[in-house]
């Protein structure tokens, strides 16, 4: 292959993204040919495509990256946040075949192909994002072999994102003890004594478990269907309700489990886990117009007034107006006032809507894991709430 042929963007076959509202975006096929259907969402983070692709919270969704050049540093085996690519489809402006990184192993396209994912590049992703922000997220399908009309017909036959339970797809099938398979360990943080944390897996990211391990915990992930008794039988010092995909209103069984755990063990709810605990505390949840997905979301701690930049990935939110007297909203989103953190008034239970584990995204709120470990070690909620 000549140098020119190598460096020029490959001539890829055409593909199109068809939205349920009839809007069509033309582009070229990446990954494998075929079609892929899901709720079309956008993420504004400028780095972290591999972490995002493997984030189980994107299950059932077609992910659009708003940063136009994707694949710059390739992919490697250490960066996956779960065992596989979780998104249903991938939409980018430019997919580069010329990555450069000392850690890189494959191009992003090769990575998508190996996973059998269908995607689309050369899309005016800004036009798509503007459409989604004004119209709200919408079902869509990427296709490499159908006309727009055919694809739309097929799309109309597909179930809506909100009606499906994706948690059962991503949760572990049986309990397992987390072992970091990377050749380096996340550096130890703090000097907490050894502890055992159980993660109720609704679609956990590896970095949550790594950050717990780094704080002296052994971590066991258990299926979302685990009962209170089975879970407590593992003798956890603390329980994490993990992030995950889909509508929290579909998770009555998890809400029941969580309700049974409050008061019996220190708990941390992250993202979907936060929404589940929100329901435990009497609130309902609702769907946001286009969600929060990115690495630049400002969250204000209502006690200190301090603002943190957080990584977010959620389409639903907790309605803070109807919380029980037992719980209080502790953090809010600066842009739209959505509830970003809840704290129980008497029990060692707190939640965050954002991804304090980052990966991808800023590490500003990693200290929440220290705060959680303090409750795990003492079994008490902190005397003086910290932010």
């Amino acid at each position: 292959m000549s140098e020119d042929a190598r460096v020029l963007p490959p001539r890829r076959p055409p593909a199109r993204l068809v939205l349920a509202d009839g809007r069509v975006f033309e582009g070229v096929a990446i990954g494998v040919p075929g079609h892929a259907t899901g709720e079309v969402v956008f993420n504004t983070s400028m780095t972290g495509y591999q972490e995002a692709l493997t984030d189980p919270s994107y299950r059932g969704q077609i992910l659009t990256m708003t940063y136009p050049i994707q694949g710059n540093y390739g992919t490697n085996r250490f960066t996956d946040e779960s065992r596989e690519i979780q998104v249903r489809g991938f939409v980018v402006r430019e997919l580069t075949d010329l990555p450069s990184h000392w850690r890189g192993e494959h191009t992003l396209d090769a990575y998508l192909r190996a996973a059998g994912l269908t995607g689309i590049a050369e899309v005016d992703t800004r036009a798509l994002t503007r459409h989604l922000r004004s119209r709200g997220v919408v079902m869509g399908t990427i296709t490499t072999h159908e006309s727009a009309a055919e694809a739309l017909d097929r799309l109309r036959g597909e179930p809506d994102y909100g009606s499906l339970d994706y948690v059962s797809e991503v949760s572990v099938k049986a309990p397992f003890d987390f072992v970091d398979d990377r050749p380096w360990a996340t550096p130890p943080v703090g000097d907490a004594p050894p502890s055992h944390v159980v993660v109720l897996d609704l679609g956990v990211k590896r970095n949550i478990m790594r950050l717990l391990c780094a704080r002296g915990s052994t971590v066991t992930a258990v299926p979302h269907t685990t009962s209170v008794e089975d879970l407590l039988a593992l003798a956890p010092d603390g329980v994490v309700l993990s992030p995950g995909p889909g509508d929290p209103m579909l998770l009555d069984h998890v809400v029941t489990t969580a309700r049974g755990l409050v008061g019996r063990v220190p708990m941390l709810g992250i993202c979907l886990g936060h929404q589940v605990l929100g329901r435990v505390f009497g609130a309902s949840t609702y769907k946001l117009k286009f969600g929060h997905r990115g690495a630049n979301h400002p969250v204000r701690d209502e006690r200190t007034g301090r603002v943190y930049i957080t990584a977010q990935n959620h389409g639903y939110a907790v309605d803070g107006d109807h919380l029980d007297a037992g719980a209080t909203v502790r953090q809010v989103h600066l842009n739209d006032g959505t509830v970003e953190g809840i704290e129980h008034r008497s029990e060692p239970v707190f939640t965050v809507q954002y991804h304090s584990e980052a990966s991808p995204g800023p590490n500003d709120t990693e200290f929440l894991f220290d705060q959680f470990m303090a409750t795990v070690v003492s079994g008490q909620r902190p005397a003086e709430p910290r932010s």
Binding site: N72, R130, V307, I309, R386
Partner: protein, 1097 residues
């Protein structure tokens, strides 16, 4: 510390705040601080705080009297600022918006106890913070305490310590002087000789005689983070940027990309964490810039890559203030850093400040980009052919361009089109480059890299040799592959679309595909290939944004539909370069304001990220685009929309950049506001202009335009030597020279032909007093706000001359002639708007001794660099008047009439400022080619006081009794006699070179002989300068074509390097010595007090 509950008590909001500007434009400190200061003053006003501004630079928007509440145009010295504090009694001082100059002054004011004495609080940054960030040793200790890595280094204050440091750390080493800007005096030393030279120059450059000698991280990746913090400890990163040039090149001289392209999420956040930790440890309330070096590959550090998540990094530098990088970051993201920093300094928290771009979110967030930004520096080597083009730790660029697009290749292509570097495209190759172009860091490296790709050098090899990351090299390879397609394949709609999407300009495509640019444009029209415009909105389209700031790209959705309002386009002036500086940005901003004041929507186009003109609220719509024919026509067609109703373009304010577009716009049937393309051509076409002046009976030096050497020689013989030669259609006297004889004429012509300058103008060189005027012409009347008289005689470029308003030595008849000629020319040319006319007065060889002795030497049918100066000292709003004329309002309608505006009671002197210390190999003598980068103004009620202030502000102040080194050319010796006597009487010790010493002795004045033959014993001229024996130099040269190594070059360079005044014109020296010889002081008053005649004598 994250996790700790920190609820800081809110500091009291200040009532009156002093803002210190950054002074003249020099390399390392340019228009970005006018932008920062202007934003800060506006922010203070929004907060209801009274602002007091001081700056010595009149060519700034911040010194407009509607920006700050009180404006002082005064020298930036401790003494002056103390007097301002005394008079205005501010309770706060904003030290972080005036660059290093402002920060250093604030530091000195605090150190001297002045702030405490008058109860002035430092806002945003404490003394401790300034010390921590600026003192290398304290900074290093602090970083070690918080566990952030710094490269091995030693603080050095003597030569002996420097040698010890070298032996301990080992070469190569980086030398960084403390408390300097733009890396002045620093550098990168590979050898003992280089090390010795840099240690000496670094110690001299540092105001505290301290340098840092540091381990070299040559070849590592260089990254920058712009960070903000408020008093409540909320910290955010506005932007990260990656330098295409690896470590070793000053960031101001690096090609910079935003956001970073080659960093993984882990690496991005590792450095982000470090930056946040640092701003917290420093306790900055406001903005801060952190620079990092990151190891590019494991083998560089012999690292075990399997066992670690990330490679090591070092913290290289922190600026505890807004900076050039923060201006770039502001324009790259849409986030107004200086504005927010000013608000934080007054006690506001980030979440209490509105995001003025979205108007629905707060300033507490991190911008998300959905485009790629490329910045390329603009270097002055088109002016300084003999300058050393190697890039290192000392910045050499005078300005920069920025371009935005959705791919790196396209942004790079547009950035290169924005450079206006002699029409040089990415396809340019140096004729001397062989199979292996030089890949070390020079201003031409980008072209060398792509040439190497073109010549087939393996890409990994290019990356290894240059240190440029393979990611960037492969992108260049992609551009080369596209070039080959364009050369080989038929130009189809698909190929053209691919090329446009990759950022190829029509003219490049034309060259490669064998078409004229206009034909490529026609094909684009036929095939429907037009750019769309997308918005810079800080949030990657997540929210609806209110600020119309656009860039072009070849995609589907256009976000900038034409609107119906009456509107006009102001074409800006592009990158700051010698000859086209911040003055033109001043005019563009004023023009936009005047349009808006007249109810006309102002559209602005520019490519310069440093400027006020590209601020988000200067215009109603901003196009961040190259200012070439293609981009300007594209955006005008976009504005025209379907009905083809394009707005008129104003080309008078953007310097030669904008004026040069007049013809192309006219040919494309696009309307031009004000003077027509034909008027402009009439003024600029030498033949037509000469005929016009003859018809008007306006005297001019004999001369003509020639195209061949034969004609040149014939003409020169006819009019007699010396002659002034220059290419037609250029700005800033590029390649203008005084030629003494036929031999010099031949060599000039050879050089001119090599540069394909085409037409060369030859004029009789008349060496008299020089004057100039700016004028507004409405077709019936010509208003001249004032006459400016140059201190230096003709032969020194007007941009390098000191000038005084009002004129000090003109007769009434000469004034009348100037007004009369200007009026006649303005009306005959059909000017609508501004023009500038330059005159020579009473030349000794006057060809017409009976006349008033006034000759027109040049007319510019546009705004000139003196417009801000003359507007400020006379109070006549020139730009506003001109814009209203273009909108059809006569001068009379605006309450003005023709003729010379009554002279005020003040005297104002403009003095040029040079950046020569930074440009190794460049000769500093004053001549017909412009060399200065900026200017200052001294204003008072007497000429002597005004000159004194201008000299102090320009750093040319000479204290009484200073020892002088004299080295005079034979031509100037007799004229220098009174000056020598004056120096002697003022108590100066005199040192002189061989011939000059004899002259001084002849006057019976004691003098010490110093040889200028450097190989014949000591002390020689270089010794007495370097050792500080003399504090100033007067060195005149024979006229003619100077090369870099001719007589006196070492004298001038050495004086420049040790930063003592070096006068190469007796006129400047005389003004300086006279001003200092006359006892008396100067006043410190707001500008309007002088102008209104309220300042006592």
């Amino acid at each position: 510390m994250p996790g700790a509950a920190v609820t800081t008590a809110r500091p009291e909001k200040p009532r009156v705040v002093l803002v210190i500007g950054s002074g003249p434009i020099v390399i390392g400190q340019a228009a970005e601080f006018d932008y920062a200061g202007t934003q800060a003053c506006k922010a203070l006003r929004e907060e209801g705080i009274r602002s007091i501004l001081v700056n010595s630079n009149p060519a700034t928007i911040m010194t407009d009297e509607d920006i700050a509440d009180v404006v002082y145009i005064e020298p930036l010295t401790i003494e002056v600022i103390e007097r301002i504090i005394q008079r205005e009694r501010p309770d706060g001082l904003l030290p972080t918006l005036g660059g290093q100059t402002g920060l250093n002054l604030a530091y000195q004011l605090a150190r001297a106890g002045i702030l405490e004495r008058y109860n002035v609080r430092l806002l945003g940054t404490s003394m401790r913070t300034i010390e921590l960030a600026e003192d290398r040793e304290l900074f290093r200790t602090l970083l070690q305490e918080i566990g952030e890595p710094v490269p091995d280094s030693d603080i050095v204050e003597t030569i002996e310590e420097a040698l010890a440091a070298r032996d301990r750390i080992g070469l190569p080493l980086v030398i960084r002087p403390a408390y300097t800007l733009g890396g002045t005096g620093g550098g990168f030393a590979r050898t003992d000789e280089e090390y010795d030279r840099l240690v000496r120059s670094g110690l001299a450059a540092s105001p505290i005689h301290q340098i840092l000698v540091e381990r070299s991280l040559l070849g590592w990746k260089e990254l920058e983070y712009e960070v903000m913090r408020d008093a409540n400890d909320t910290c955010i990163v506005i932007c990260n940027m990656e330098n295409l040039d690896p470590m070793g090149v000053h960031t101001g001289d690096s090609i910079v990309v935003a956001p970073s392209q080659t960093l993984s999420d882990t690496e991005y956040h590792m450095l982000r964490n470090s930056a946040l930790k640092i701003i917290r440890a420093l306790g900055i309330e406001g903005g801060c810039n952190v620079q990092f070096a990151l190891a590019p590959r494991p083998e560089v550090v012999a690292w075990e890559s399997e066992g670690v998540p990330a490679l090591p990094y070092y913290v290289i530098e922190v600026n505890p203030r807004v900076s050039r990088s923060s201006a770039l970051a502001s324009k790259a993201t849409g986030y107004p850093i200086a504005r927010v920093a000013a608000k934080i300094a007054t006690g506001k928290r980030l979440d209490e400040i509105e995001n003025s771009v979205t108007r629905r979110t707060s300033a507490a967030f991190e911008p998300a980009l959905d485009y790629c930004v490329v910045k390329i520096p603009r270097w002055p080597f088109d002016k300084f052919a003999f300058g050393d083009r190697t890039l290192g730790t000392q910045m050499k660029a005078t300005g920069e361009v920025m371009a935005i697009d959705r791919t790196f290749e396209a942004a790079l292509g547009k950035a290169i089109r924005s450079l206006e570097f002699g029409g040089r495209s990415l396809q340019w190759e140096h004729p001397d480059w062989g199979a292996e172009p030089p890949l070390h860091a020079t201003d031409e490296r980008l072209w060398a890299l792509i040439t190497a790709v073109r010549r087939g050098m393996p890409l990994p090899e290019i990356s290894r040799r240059s240190g440029v990351d393979p990611w960037f090299v492969e992108r260049l390879a992609r551009i080369v592959a596209m070039e080959r397609r364009l050369l080989a394949e038929e130009l189809t709609p698909t190929l053209l679309a691919d090329a446009k999407r990759m950022g190829f300009g029509d003219s490049q495509i034309g060259t490669l595909a064998d078409r004229l640019p206009e034909q490529v444009r026609a094909l684009r029209e036929e095939w429907g290939l037009k750019p769309v415009y997308k918005m810079v909105d800080t949030c990657a389209a997540e929210f609806d944004a209110a600020t119309p700031y656009f860039y072009s790209t070849y995609e589907s959705e256009n976000e900038a539909p034409p609107h119906d309002q009456e509107r006009m386009l102001v074409i800006g002036s592009g990158p700051i370069r010698i000859g086209q500086g911040i003055e033109f940005d001043y005019c563009s901003v004023q023009a936009a304001r005047a349009l808006r004041a007249a109810g006309v929507s102002a559209i602005l186009a520019n490519s310069n990220p440093e400027t006020v003109s590209t601020d988000f609220d200067t215009s109603d719509r901003l196009y961040f685009e190259p200012l070439d024919e293609e981009s300007v026509r594209d955006l005008l067609e976009n504005e025209a929309g379907a009905n083809g109703n394009a707005p008129a373009s104003i080309v008078q304010f953007g310097g030669q950049t904008a004026v040069n577009l007049a013809r192309a716009l006219h040919s494309a049937a696009l309307p031009i506001a004000g003077s027509s393309a034909d008027s402009i051509d009439l003024a600029e076409d030498r033949g037509r202009f000469e005929r016009l002046l003859s018809e008007l009976a306006v005297p001019q030096p004999p001369g003509t335009a020639v195209k061949t050497l034969e004609n040149a020689v014939t003409t020169a013989n006819a009019i007699g030597y010396p002659v002034l030669v220059r290419p037609s259609y250029v700005l800033g006297g590029r390649a203008m020279e005084v030629v003494q004889d036929a031999n010099e004429l031949v060599s000039y012509f050879a050089a001119a032909l090599a540069e394909k300058t085409g037409v060369v103008l030859i004029d009789k060189y008349l060496s008299g007093l020089e004057c100039e005027v700016d004028a507004v012409v409405d077709g019936d009347q010509v208003l001249i706000p004032g006459i400016m008289e140059h201190i230096e005689r003709a032969g020194v470029h007007s941009g390098d001359s000191m000038a005084v308003y009002p004129p000090q030595s003109l007769t009434q008849a000469q004034r009348d002639a100037i007004v009369d000629y200007t009026t006649r020319i303005g009306l005959a040319l059909g000017v609508r708007g501004l023009m500038n006319v330059q005159f020579v007065i009473s030349p000794p060889d006057d060809p017409d001794p009976e006349g008033p002795g006034v000759f027109v030497i040049e007319v510019n049918p546009r705004s000139s660099r003196t417009v801000p100066f003359i507007s400020k000292v006379t109070g006549v709003p020139l730009v506003q008047l001109a814009v209203n004329v273009m909108l059809g309002r006569s001068l009379a309608d605006q309450g003005y009439s023709g003729g010379l505006w009554p002279e005020g009671h003040l005297v104002a002197v403009k003095a040029p400022v040079f950046s020569m210390a930074k440009l190794v190999g460049v000769d500093t003598y004053l001549g017909p080619e412009m060399k200065s980068t900026g200017e200052v103004m001294g204003v008072d009620v007497t000429f002597d006081a005004a000159v004194r202030k201008a000299l102090i502000a320009a750093d040319l102040g000479v204290k009484p009794g200073t020892s002088f080194l004299l080295s005079l050319s034979n031509q100037t010796k007799s004229e220098a006699l009174p000056l020598i006597r004056m120096l002697h009487e003022a108590g100066s010790r005199l040192y002189a070179t061989e011939g000059t010493a004899a002259l001084v002795q002849g006057l019976g004045i004691p003098v010490e002989l110093v040889t200028k033959r450097l190989n014949e014993g000591h002390p020689n001229v270089v010794d007495v300068i370097r050792e500080g024996t003399v504090g100033a130099v007067i060195n005149t040269i024979e006229g003619g074509r100077p090369g870099p190594l001719r007589d006196g070059f070492h004298i001038r360079r050495t004086a420049t390097e040790v930063r003592i005044p070096c006068f190469t014109s007796l006129d400047t020296a005389r003004a300086a010595i006279q001003a200092l010889a006359v006892p008396g002081s100067y006043q410190v008053l707001p500008l309007n007090v002088y102008r209104d005649g309220e300042a006592g004598a």
